[in-house]
């Protein structure tokens, strides 16, 4: 039966929301790993029943959990993330060198073709890969070692590698993003990397157009056009048409160009979604109105999507990994809030309804479309 499975990571556990293709009636499963922070969970495109989850705790560290039955049962796999060679230093908040220290896994990105291959983006920023289903992890240390690593500095949320985009047409090309270093690309499977931040302009760093130091919040790609990327930066929404070689701003008529999430319609590569957030420091929707903004022209012209979303007294945030789309014929769009709501639209954003309202603060949302 065709349906969707929404994987929700929260501050206090993981939840799995399921529905048939109508996406009108939902079942809520969980919490899994109750009490633990689940920064992210994601399914393998090659085997939808293979799921990976990042389970962490300030007390008891990092665990990686794996499921082979769509989240019915889980088993812990490898949790040793050791930096390759001498870990070295990055820049600390006060400008002094600070040793690289592993804290947690922010994002897990399974390979599109191999259920046992999965990438992990971690804090302090680095990229790891497992080729044995999460049993062991090896750092792709060319990223930290490409030259600018010692100058990277954490944002307020830590120095996290939070976005991993695998080019579906070229297994050697990977895009990643780090707060607050910027975006990077490899064209040789992770051996060598280079910053791809030309065109970014960030007034909060000494040189607003520096090669690194930008607080990129999220990057999104449509699988049919892997050279076109969309970016939600700390401020500004941007686009590249040449795989990151240069970016240009597409914020257009957004009420604020600050935000965390950005995603692309499953069937319309020029249709993109953001959730504008008021900043600095407030980090809630402008005017207390929770609005998703959609552009059908690849940016610059945006329309507010409000039907079914609270339009008064709403002061939640939508974090960087907390939006996803399904690939049913009428594209479903989903996002989670720090207030514990998970909203779904079965009509590409025209109307919304909450799947669930009272979860712990939502850290991540992923969607699997099940055949």
């Amino acid at each position: 039966m065709t349906g969707v499975r929404v994987l929700v990571g929260t501050r206090k556990g993981a939840f799995i929301l399921t529905s048939d293709a109508k996406r009108a009636r939902w079942k809520v499963h969980g919490p899994h790993f109750a009490g633990w922070e689940i920064y992210h969970l994601k399914g393998s495109p090659a085997d939808p029943n293979r799921l990976y989850a990042s389970q962490s705790s300030g007390w008891f560290g990092q665990q990686i959990q794996r499921s082979n039955d769509g989240g019915e049962s889980w088993e812990p796999v490898g949790n040793q993330f050791t930096y390759d060679g001498v870990a070295g230093t990055h820049q600390w908040y006060d400008g002094t060198p600070h040793p690289w220290e592993f804290k947690r896994v922010w994002h897990l990105e399974p390979s599109p073709s191999d259920p046992d291959m999965v990438y992990a983006g971690v804090e302090d920023a680095a990229l790891f890969r497992s080729t044995d289903g999460g049993g062991t992890w090896q750092e792709l240390s060319g990223l930290r070692g490409h030259g600018s690593g010692p100058s990277w500095a954490p944002g307020a949320g830590g120095m996290c590698l939070h976005t991993i985009l695998l080019d579906p047409t070229d297994p050697n090309r990977i895009f990643i993003a780090i707060s607050a270093a910027g975006a990077f690309r490899t064209d040789d499977g992770g051996k060598s990397w280079r910053p791809i931040n030309q065109g970014l302009h960030s007034l909060y760093i000494p040189d607003p157009t520096a090669e690194v130091g930008h607080c990129v919040h999220r990057i999104a790609m449509h699988r049919s056009r892997p050279n076109v990327l969309y970016m939600q930066k700390h401020w500004d929404v941007l686009r590249t048409d040449n795989a990151g070689d240069s970016w240009h701003e597409i914020s257009g008529n957004l009420p604020t160009d600050f935000g965390f999430v950005i995603d692309v319609h499953a069937h319309e590569p020029e249709t993109i979604y953001v959730v504008p957030i008021k900043s600095d420091s407030e980090h809630y929707p402008p005017e207390g109105k929770l609005r998703v903004y959609r552009s059908r022209s690849g940016g610059n012209e945006w329309e507010a999507l409000t039907k079914g979303l609270p339009q008064q007294d709403c002061y939640v945030n939508v974090l960087r990994d907390a939006m996803a789309v399904d690939s049913l014929e009428s594209c479903g769009v989903y996002f989670g809030t720090t207030g514990g709501q998970v909203y779904a639209s079965a009509d590409a954003g025209d109307s919304w309804a909450p799947i669930v309202r009272d979860l712990p603060p939502v850290l991540s949302v992923e969607v699997q479309t099940l055949a």
């Binding site: 790993f33 109750a34 009490g35 633990w36 705790s57 300030g58 007390w59 008891f60 560290g61 990092q62 665990q63 812990p76 949790n79 040793q80 050791t82």
Partner: protein, 98 residues
């Protein structure tokens, strides 16, 4: 037989209920008890002490016989009451709100 009390999150992780009873070869120290515990429950590797440095995680504490042993050397013998099984070796997570 060494008795070990685990905090609730680690009991869930280890899928165990109640105290853990361990046979610890050689002198009973923090290091040997934790080694035996991790051998019994590999999922606890990295959750109590660092994989590589073996340093206690910052927000984990070790108590026994109404004493905080957290800052003692991991190779100091544990109190006789722990070795005899009269008292448990207690692993707890530091208390915090939220």
């Amino acid at each position: 037989m060494i008795r070990v009390e685990l905090p609730a999150p680690l009991l869930i992780l280890a899928r165990h209920e109640g105290e853990v009873a361990l046979d610890v070869p050689g002198p009973a120290t923090q290091r040997s008890v934790l080694g035996a515990l991790e051998a019994r429950y590999p999922v606890l590797r990295g959750a109590i002490r660092d994989h590589v440095t073996q340093q206690r995680r910052a927000f984990v504490r070790f108590y026994a016989c109404r004493r905080d042993l957290s800052h003692e050397s991991p190779d100091v013998p544990l109190p006789e009451e722990v070795v005899s099984g009269a008292e448990p070796f207690v692993i707890i997570g530091a208390i915090v709100g939220g």
